[in-house]
Structures are given as C-alpha cells and as structure tokens.
C-alpha cells in the first residue's frame, strides 16, 4: 500500500492494525472502543500518535503481537481492527 501524499483522507484509507503484516509499521490514529477498554489499551502504550509495528502471531495469525512504546503486546484481531492507523511510507528512516 503506497501513500501518495501527506494529506490524510480518512475515508480513502481507513486502515486498522489488523491490516498490518509482520514488519509493517503505522501511526495509531484513534481507538474505536468504549472508554475503559480504550484507557487500558492506552496504559499499555497504544496512544494516538504512537508508532506501532506488527510482529509475530500465534499459529493462524490470531492473536498478533504488536511492538508499541518499547514493549510487545498481543491483541486479538477483533480488537486490532478497532485501532485505526495511518500507514507509514515504506522505508521511512527511523527517528
């Protein structure tokens, strides 16, 4: 998936964490979950604006491990697809 510009068009690519394949990274945009669930995710590092990288998964691809804010956290697909992300351009040099 190649992004053409820097302008965000939410309708055009509402990608979620579930769409990431191993090694892909994206910036977390928002969490579509009820308050307490969202807060728990945020305390584990899933804050909007944070870079999330997809890691390995259990056999069958679910749940999947994500690297976020210095730790690795496993999420089920049903949760991962509630986390909307902005995809990063491939080969972006890391800060």
């Amino acid at each position: 998936m190649q992004l053409s510009g820097n302008k965000i068009q939410p309708e055009a690519f509402s990608a979620t964490l579930m769409d990431l394949r191993r090694g892909d990274a994206a910036i977390l945009d928002r969490i579509d979950l009820p308050g307490d669930d969202a807060r728990r995710l945020m305390e584990m590092g899933f804050l909007p604006g944070t870079r999330v990288t997809a890691g390995r998964s259990a056999p069958g691809g679910d749940p999947q491990v994500f690297q976020v804010d210095g730790s690795e956290v496993a999420l089920r697909r049903e949760t991962a697809r509630r986390l909307k992300v902005r995809l990063e351009k491939k080969k972006t040099p890391r800060a």
């Binding site: 979950l33 307490d36 669930d37 807060r39 728990r40 995710l41 945020m42 305390e43 584990m44 590092g45 804050l47 909007p48 604006g49 890691g55 390995r56 998964s57 259990a58 056999p59 069958g60 679910d62 749940p63 491990v65 690297q67 804010d69 210095g70 730790s71 690795e72 956290v73 496993a74 999420l75 089920r76 049903e78 949760t79 509630r82």
Partner: protein, 629 residues
Amino acid sequence: MSECSDCHACGGTTVVEFPGSATAPKAVALIGPPNSGKTTLFNRLTGLRQKVANFPGVTVEQHTGMAELPDGRLLRIIDLPGVYSLSPRSEDEQIAHDVLTGQRADTPKPEAILLVLDSTNLGRHLMLAAPILALGVPTLIVLNMADDLRKRGGRIDMAALSKELGAPVALINARQGEGMEQVTDFLAGVMPKPAPKELPILQDVPKCRAWAGRVSGQAAYRPPIAPKWTRRLDAVFLHPVLGPLVFLCVVVAVFQTIFSIADPSKDAVDWLVRVSGKWVASVLPAGLLQSLLVDGVWKGVGSVIVFLPQVLLLFLFIGILEDSGYLARAALIADRTMAKVGLQGKSFIPLLSAYACAVPAIMSTRTIENKRDRFATILIAPFMTCSARLPVYSLIIAAFIPDRHIVGRLLSQRTAAMMGLYILGFLAAVVTARVLKSSILKSGRSPFLLEMPSYRWPTWQSIGLRLFDRSKVFLRRAGTVILLVTVLLWISMNIPYAHGKPPVLENSLAGTIGRTIEPVIKPLGFNWKVGIGLLTAVAARETIIATLGTIYGMDPKTQEEGLQKAIHDDLTPGGAFALLVFFAFAMQCISTIAVVRRETGGWKWPAAQFGYMSALAYVGAFVAAHVIR
C-alpha cells in the same frame, strides 16, 4: 555503571524525613507495573521472611515480608499487586490505591514507597510515577534491570532524572543484587531528597505519557535496542509450525521427567519413612499407641509424604516456565483454542496453574475482567489435573501399568497413561466451558491484552522460594487435614475394641461404613476399602493414599506388602481404570469448594459444581469399569 555511581550526591540537599523522625518506617509499600521485577526485589529484600495471605473481603493476595536494614532494624514490606495505573477499575488497582492512601483498616498506611520500574522501558513505565509521587509519601524510584539496559546499549542520567522527578532514584539489578545499597540507604532514611516538581493531570493518559516522555528526555534516556535473544527465541517459539511443536515437546518432557527423575528421590523418601517407622515401632511397647503411630500415622501420612519430590518437581517446571517468560507465549498459542470454547487466552494462565493447584488458580482468575468469563474459568479449573491427583495417579499407574517404552527412551507407557489422564481432565474442562459459555454464562468478549515479557533466565532464589513455599503447604496439609483424617480412620478401625484386641477389619466401624456404601460403588468396580478411601478423599484427594496405606497396613493379610502391591492384588484392572477416571472428574477438595464459595459469593455455584463433577465422575467411572474388565 557510571550513570548511577554518583546518584547519592544528586538532587537537592534535604534528607528524606519519614514521619516518626529518627526511626526507620514501620511499613514500606512495594509497587510497580507487571514485569518490572517487583517480586525479585521483594524476594531479595525479605528472603525467607515472607507471608502470603489474602486481603480480607477481597481476593487479592497480600504478600508481606520483613526486611532487615544493615543496622539490624526490621521493616515490614508490603508487596502490592502489579498495576499499570492507580485509577481504581480492577480489584488489584483498588487495593493498591487503598493501601497507598491508608484507606484499608487492615493494613497500616505505608510510610514510604518503593516504586519499581523497568529501566529498559522507562518511557512507558514512568507514567506510573505521576500518580505515585502525587500521593506525597516519601518515594524511591527504583529502576530495575540495569544489566539489560547496559548490555543493550541504553543509558540514563540518574542525577538529571532525580531532579526532574523531584524524588530520589536508584538504578539496580535486583536479580544480581547490584545497587541494593541504594535501596537500603533510602529505607534507612539517609538518602537526599530533591525539591518536589509539578506533576501532570493524573486522569489523562496521553498527558501522563507526554510528561513521562519529557522527563526521560531531560534525563537523556536512551532506550536500549530491542532484545536480540527475545526476537530469536520468538522466531522459534512463535513459529507457525515449530511453536506448537515446541509447546507439545515441553509438556511431554515435563511429564516424562516427573516420572523418571522423581522415582529415585521418591524411593529415598519412602526409605526414610519406612526406616523411621521401624525405629518408632522398636522403641515403643507393643500396644495401641504403637499401632496408632506405626500403622495409622506413619503408614498413612508417610505414604503421602513420599510424593513431595514429585510435586516439587512439577512446581519447579511451572516456576521455570513462568519466570522465563515462556508462559505468556504459551497463552498466546492457546488463545485461539480457548476462544473456540468461548474463553480467552487470559483464562489459560489460571487454568495452567490449576495443574499445580486449583486454589491459587481460582484466586488468580481475578485478572479476567469479564465476570462471566471469570466464573466459567473458576468452574472448570478443578478439572485440570492438580498436583494432589499426581500421587493417586502415580500409585495406581505404577501398580497396574508395566514400565515399557513406546518410542525408544522418550516415552514410556506410564508417561503415556499419565498424559492421557491429563488430557481427559482437560477435555472435561473444555466441554464444560463450551456448554457454560453457550448457555448460562454467555457474554460479549472483552479485549484480550497480553504483554509479552522479554525472556530471562529464572533465578535460583525465586524458584527456590517458590519450592520452599509449596513444601510448607504440602507438609502442613499432611500434618493437619490428612493426619486428622488418618487418626479418625484408625480409631474407627479399632471400634468396637474388645478383649484387648481390635475387631476384624470388616466388622470395625470403618468396615461397617465401607460395606454400607459398597452397593453404590460396586458397579464402578470398587470394594469397600476403596469406598472408605473415596469418603476420606472428599477432604483432599491425596488422603485416599493415606487411607489405603492405613487400611492395608492394619490388615494382617497385606501388612507386610508395599502399598503398591497391596492395591494391585486388591483391585481389578477395570476397577483401577475406573478409579483413575473417578479422580480425574471428581471435585474432592474442601479447600477448592471453600475458595469457589468465596470467589463467587455464595453456595450456589460450588454446590452446582460439586454435584456436576461428582455425577460426571460416577458415570465416567461406570463406563471405564465396563470398558476394561
């Protein structure tokens, strides 16, 4: 090391003054996020002077211990549950919050706090520092895992960090004991305290994280590179094909080792029990007292104690799997299977620890936020093969199944039989969960969140403490419940006592009771002796061994035989198989019933559970007795 060597001099000038002036604080709370190495520090501070209890009224375990300062003063250390925040949503967070703010009548308000954070993940872990520092209690911020930080190329300016936080800080490695003098200095009240700083708005997670990021930035924190070995190991353990294969191998290896290595140690304990029993018999005059001690207590309690090495070996393996970080991967692999029966990966860890004992397993279900998932896990946990079943299985398998190898030296028939029983219990749990979750305990799913810790070598200290703890529990049970049941049994076997002689076993009170219930258990292939064993096993499963040990030990016909041979001669193969199946399904454990009652808040669930499991055990044993004849 250079980053922290000068941190005694860091910050301002005032010395931390605990309330109560010159004397050190009486109670110190230890808190930190999960996987911060909090328990390692607790173990290092308190060693064997630990006590585990429950906070009254709730299910959270309370670990307290005594720490000794270099000058000999003693401190009470309260190890609070691992939490990510202090906003009281789960029971764990509520307890941590209430203890730290002095709102619990049963626990003194701590006069100082040790906040343990993982130095390799400081940005995120520092978030917890905001609500803790806001309490205004003297706090030492302990950055743990200094060795990992160094090895993986991370660094931090401790003086700057202390200044930014307005609190003393220490960089330590609790596993090796490095930097511990800074912690004891703080506890002794001699660490300088910098001026307090402004803190972020506590309720706002993004703001807290931004604050933590700014503080660690000011302290020139450079996070370490990703742990190389964790990635390499996960490439194997989470490999789509190798992962489940390794999982299976680990399970087989554990059981095979329990059987092959445990035998010599079991024989050694067995020998000790027998020799000491003979010694007791030789120093006591023949008579009732000698009979009570030798035939009753020694043969009864002794036949349970011989299984201590095996039970400890099981706890050793579970401890290694947990402390190394592999258990989280196992939960990940198991999550999809758990989801199929309507549960989640988080239920997996209580269920796995139920292989050791259902009581702590049921208490640990409190980490499951969803109440219906939690109840379902509580209800199926006693089906997992707990360590109290291990002696029963071992004895009967050894008595009836020859020790032949199936696959070279890797797998013996006995191991296979044992694993079959473990699988049987697991299947009963799965089917029960499926039924519960698609009927009375149906629920929406809560998000599954599981942190994958880095792999670490387990430390001998932590494993050793666990084993010490379990030995105490096992021996206490043998010395109280089982001893009491054995003595009562011995008495009932000597009634009616006439003409200075005990009655023939069949005519004694125990024999009468046994023969009264015989018609009920006869269809299962059990005789009245096993019946008495089943009755006493309601107290605790392994009591049946003590009971049979006493019964065969008192019976002149079997007195000279070992327990294993006596059982082999007394039971048919069908009856033996039925007995195994019965034990796989039945809920014979007073402690479990009590803990279920407490956790579910009434008698309704434990009563239903006991009835269901007993019925399943009876039907299962009936079928088993008619399959093999």
